[in-house]
């Protein structure tokens, strides 16, 4: 028994680990069933109450309800994060490959472009479509052919072509970074779960948005021009009374709805005098989730937990709440959350003027740098003449007030205006580190310089096709297993059933590894698992055939098993290694779904070898040890 113990423990550990890693997936499956059940109920209720509601509106309401259900159950979210990631082809969603349009950028960057320049640019653009050469270098080459110096359109007269080309290439890289930040910002706001935004090559951006219901909206999010605004932050004296009123309105509504169980509330009131957290939430529903940063109330910013954000949106959408908020102000969040002490992300909530003081079009340049005297990072920004004039008036009239820098509706920074800025050339200090300053630079530029992107490839899978694919995949896997398992038992009797047991373990291990390493399961990935089931028994077929041969020479079963395994190793490794090689190449070559296939194929080879060689061997050894008879058919 002792010689078996180590292998047994090894197998149990792997299987146990897989089960542990797969548990969230199972939990998530149950959760989403629950959620969709309650969502259909809500949808029906809304329809019954308001039969004339348009599909668009209904969808919006249902989506926001779903968001609030999900954010109210932290365990729902954690299960979702830990489950086996499904590819876009299974859960529906959108896959986009975008490329920064350098030609458009060059058109905007050139100073006084004339017809000649535009013609050359057009030629260069046409050429770039069929070659791998960069538009900038094609343009430079064409200009040279025509004996035109680059400095006629870019930079200053003293700079030579090479330097200008270098700078233009930098501008291009900049534009890609900017486009990524703009996209990330909007995607975050749209609330897509598990989005993926990646840079590919020098100027491509690959965006994956799972589970997008209204893909057109997403597309719009990705392509529209970024809007940068400067908005004045309302001071506490103005904002806090409004927030108080919102709180009161919400509290009174809450009381109405809990009228039915008034008795229990009353009982609790007598038992505890002090305001517990629960009590506080009941009496101050707004302040309970939007906690003022400054207890003395000198500034009106509030911290909101990430999970409460959708609740705030819901509050602010209510008609009775809208009534108490003046028309000329609005609440907005900041773009990036800060990590709170208890590990949860917090967003800052600002109250700002609805009308922007200035929009980003006036900015001509922005740069993040280190202040020579203090050594701390800062961002400088320049404006054109018209902007500078406005800016001077705004800063002059609002000294000591804060001005929020808002990109596409979220705040990136809200510096205090210290003095009147007459020339438009401003310094923004207070960035915590260079990364933050760099981000602010990107944001400021985003308002000024466009980052035009073209969509090169776009694939959208509707949720219904994804659902169909999942059920087809699962059905194929079940049928495939059934057929292979029956055949193995039929042909190899008892030994065949060992192989079948090993096969289940293989599938379990594949899924466990996928969950553990955050691999993505796609439809071709499921096909890879199904295919693995067919191919995985190969190892056992080779061994069983060999055992039969050895038995024929008159060996005992124990000796035959030993020899059978020993003589099969080389053939087994040979027959798996080439498939593994092609798996690696496939992974390199393919995108999304194909990578999923390559992944399950490779994991399948490794895990099936483990279970066929270690697990089946263990069963054989155990049976031999106990003296059971083994039928190899």
């Amino acid at each position: 028994m002792k010689e078996l113990r180590f292998r047994l423990i090894l197998i149990l550990v792997f299987v146990g680990l897989s089960l542990y890693l797969l548990y969230p997936t199972f939990q998530d499956y149950l959760n989403s069933k629950e959620v969709s059940k309650s969502l259909t109920k809500i949808e029906k209720e809304i329809k019954a109450k308001n039969p004339t509601i348009t599909d668009n509106k209904l969808k919006d309401i249902v989506t926001s309800k779903r968001d609030s259900i999900l954010s109210n159950h932290p365990d729902y979210r954690s299960a979702r994060e830990k489950r086996v990631k499904l590819g876009l082809d299974l859960q529906g969603g959108m896959y986009l490959v975008m490329e920064v349009n350098t030609a458009k950028l060059l058109e905007k960057l050139a100073k006084d472009p004339d017809q000649l320049y535009l013609d050359i640019l057009k030629e260069a653009e046409a050429e770039s479509k069929i070659s791998d050469e960069n538009v900038v270098s094609i343009l430079a080459r064409k200009m040279k052919e025509k004996n035109i110096r680059m400095s006629r359109y870019f930079g200053s007269i003293r700079e030579d072509d090479e330097r200008i080309v270098q700078r233009l290439l930098e501008q291009e890289t900049d534009a890609v970074t900017r486009a990524i930040e703009i996209i990330r910002n909007r995607v975050d706001q749209y609330g897509v779960s598990e989005p993926s935004i990646q840079k590919q090559g020098s100027r491509r951006i690959v965006v994956e948005l799972p589970g997008i219901a209204r893909e057109e909206e997403a597309r719009r999010l990705l392509q529209g021009r970024a809007l940068l605004e400067f908005k004045l932050v309302k001071d506490a004296a103005f904002a806090i009374p409004i927030m108080n009123r919102i709180d009161e309105v919400l509290a009174s509504k809450l009381k109405d709805s809990t009228l039915a169980n008034k008795e229990t509330v009353a009982k609790k009131d007598t038992s505890k005098k002090n305001l517990t957290e629960e009590q506080f939430a009941k009496e101050h529903p707004f302040f309970a989730i939007a906690r003022l940063i400054d207890p003395q109330g000198r500034i009106a910013d509030a911290f909101v937990k990430e999970s409460d954000r959708s609740k705030i949106f819901e509050f602010l959408q209510r008609d009775d709440v809208k009534k108490v908020i003046p028309d000329n102000v609005e609440f907005i969040f900041d773009a990036k959350p800060t990590l709170g002490p208890d590990g949860e992300n917090f967003y800052r909530l600002y109250m700002v003027n609805k009308e922007p003081e200035l929009t980003g079009g006036v900015i001509t340049d922005a740069r993040a740098e280190i202040d020579q005297t203090t050594g701390s990072p800062e961002v400088t920004m320049q404006m054109n003449a018209e902007g500078a004039r406005e800016w001077s008036r705004i800063t002059g009239a609002n000294i000591d007030k804060r001005c929020a820098i808002v990109l596409d509706g979220v705040v990136y920074s809200a510096p205090t205006i210290i003095n009147k800025i007459p020339t438009g050339s401003s310094r923004i200090t207070g960035s915590a580190n260079m990364d933050e300053a760099k981000l602010l630079e990107i944001v400021l530029k985003a308002g000024a310089l466009p980052a035009p992107v073209d969509i090169l490839e776009e694939r959208t899978v509707g949720p219904s096709l994804g659902q169909d694919s999942i059920s087809q995949g699962v059905n194929s896997a079940l049928f495939g297993y059934l057929l292979v398992a029956l055949f193995m038992i039929f042909y190899y009797k008892t030994a065949g059933s060992f192989a079948d047991f090993a096969l289940i373990t293989t599938v379990l291990l594949i899924l466990g590894i996928l969950a553990g390493f955050k691999g993505t399961l796609t439809l071709p990935g499921i096909a890879g698992i199904v295919l693995t089931m067919g191919m995985a028994v190969d190892a056992n077929v080779i061994i069983f055939e060999r055992i039969r041969e050895e038995l024929k020479t008159g060996k005992t079963i124990k000796a035959a098993v030993d020899m059978g395994f020993k003589n099969s190793y080389s053939a087994i490794f040979d027959s798996n290694i080439t498939t593994f090689f092609t798996g690696i190449i496939l992974y390199q070559f393919g995108s999304g779904p194909i990578q999923g296939f390559a992944l399950t194929l490779m994991i399948g080879i490794v895990t099936s070898l483990f279970s066929q060689l270690v697990l089946v061997r263990l069963i054989f050894d155990f049976m031999n040890l106990k003296g059971y008879k083994i039928n190899v058919g």
Binding site: K57, V461, Q472, D538, D574, T579, I585
Partner: protein, 379 residues
């Protein structure tokens, strides 16, 4: 139960017949590739494609008729999945400029007929979209909903210029959807998937696919060069070419012959080809392995007999493994759905030719090589 036990077939002696069989299939396949040409999917060709699912079965010819009249030129229409699914494809990326005014007037028609006397202002008109602004938010929302109901996709602008503006997207798929929802009123549909691949990406994918196939061949050559001597490596690679070409040929021959069976070269099909390259070599390696073992045991026997012995001894394993693998592939073919059909079919053909070629192409070529050079084959 034991099948194929103690079989003793003179495989090598019959190799000439099988040269004819292989040659015949290869010839027909190559001829069809030359005549019919490879049918590439949207992945490699570029273009736009929409798959939609109706609630009730539809007449495919009717859909074809509707779609052919909307100014998109040559549009391919075929079934997708069952009788309720339709796949519409065009090589175009965006609506041609000569059709654009038609689309635009259609949009404006919808607005003016549903909302007479509405004040609207055109802000922007591009190949991809139309932007209008309206006096206030609620009107914009109403118009947006109406256009959406007609099949157009709309979004509200978030830009300061027009807080009450809407953007109407004018894509190929939108135009198709609008026309279908107008012409096929009693049968609602949902969009299953939408793909748009630019010509540049298509070219790149094609290049990548070729690189991947060549790379995998090189890797296999290197591996075989380590395991066996030159004659074996060469024969194995010839066998791979044989398998890939035959599968490709059968793809082309059967393209369009079976209704509802989408046999075009897509990325997933290329993935299947790569898989079968890896798989087809397995059987060959196992047979060669056994040949090597046989040569060691029976040093005096002629190569042909040793090969026959090796093939006969491995036959049982080969056939059983192929059988279980084919079982799962057939399951994928039947239950895997439209998306996996081409993939499973390529594997199905590939597995069969892969097994066949390990005996009648790879092994036979080693024998031919040995006979030609009259040299003793070493490993």
């Amino acid at each position: 139960m034991r099948l194929f036990e103690n079989i003793n077939i003179d495989f090598m002696g019959k190799r000439t017949y099988f040269y004819f069989v292989s040659g015949f299939i290869l010839l027909i396949g190559l001829l069809s590739i030359l005549i019919k040409g490879l049918e590439f999917g949207i992945d490699f060709k570029g273009g736009s494609e929409v798959a939609i699912q109706f609630e009730k079965p539809v007449e495919i010819s009717y859909i074809r008729n509707v779609v052919s009249k909307i100014g998109l030129g040559e549009v391919e229409v075929k079934t997708f999945g069952g009788s309720t699914g339709v796949l519409i494809r065009t090589p175009l990326q965006e609506i041609p400029t000569n059709v654009l005014p038609v689309v635009k007037s259609r949009v404006e028609n919808i607005i003016s007929s549903n909302f007479p006397n509405i004040e609207k202002q055109e802000i922007e008109s591009t190949v991809n979209s139309l932007t209008y602004s309206f006096p206030n938010d609620s009107t914009a929302e109403l118009v947006s909903d109406k256009l959406f109901a007609y099949g157009f996709t709309t979004t509200k602008t978030a830009e300061e210029v027009a807080k009450s503006g809407i953007v109407v997207k004018l894509g190929i798929s939108d135009w198709i959807k609008e026309n279908l929802s107008e012409k096929v009123k009693d049968n609602k549909f949902t969009v299953l998937k939408e793909d748009k691949v630019g010509p540049k990406v298509g070219q790149e994918l094609k290049r990548d696919a070729v690189i991947a196939v060549i790379l995998s061949l090189i890797v296999i050559m290197i591996y075989l060069a380590f395991r066996f001597k030159f004659a074996f490596a060469l024969s194995a690679v010839i066998a791979i070419f044989h398998d890939v070409l035959i599968t490709l040929g059968i793809f082309v021959i059967l393209y369009g012959m079976i209704p509802g069976f989408n046999l075009e070269i897509s990325i997933t099909v290329v993935a299947a080809f790569l898989t079968l390259v890896g798989y087809s070599i397995n059987d060959t390696v196992i047979v060669f392995d056994r040949v090597r073992e046989q040569i060691k045991i029976h040093k005096t026997l002629p190569l042909e007999e040793n090969m026959n012995l090796a093939i006969n001894k491995t036959m049982s394993r080969t056939l059983i493994t192929v059988f279980t693998t084919l079982l799962t592939i057939i399951v994928l073919l039947i239950f895997g759905g439209e998306v996996l059909r081409g993939f499973a079919f390529a594997l199905f053909i590939g597995m069969i030719t892969g097994t066949y070629s390990s005996v009648f192409v790879a092994s036979a070529f080693v024998l031919e090589y040995a006979n030609r050079t009259k040299s003793k084959v070493t490993f």
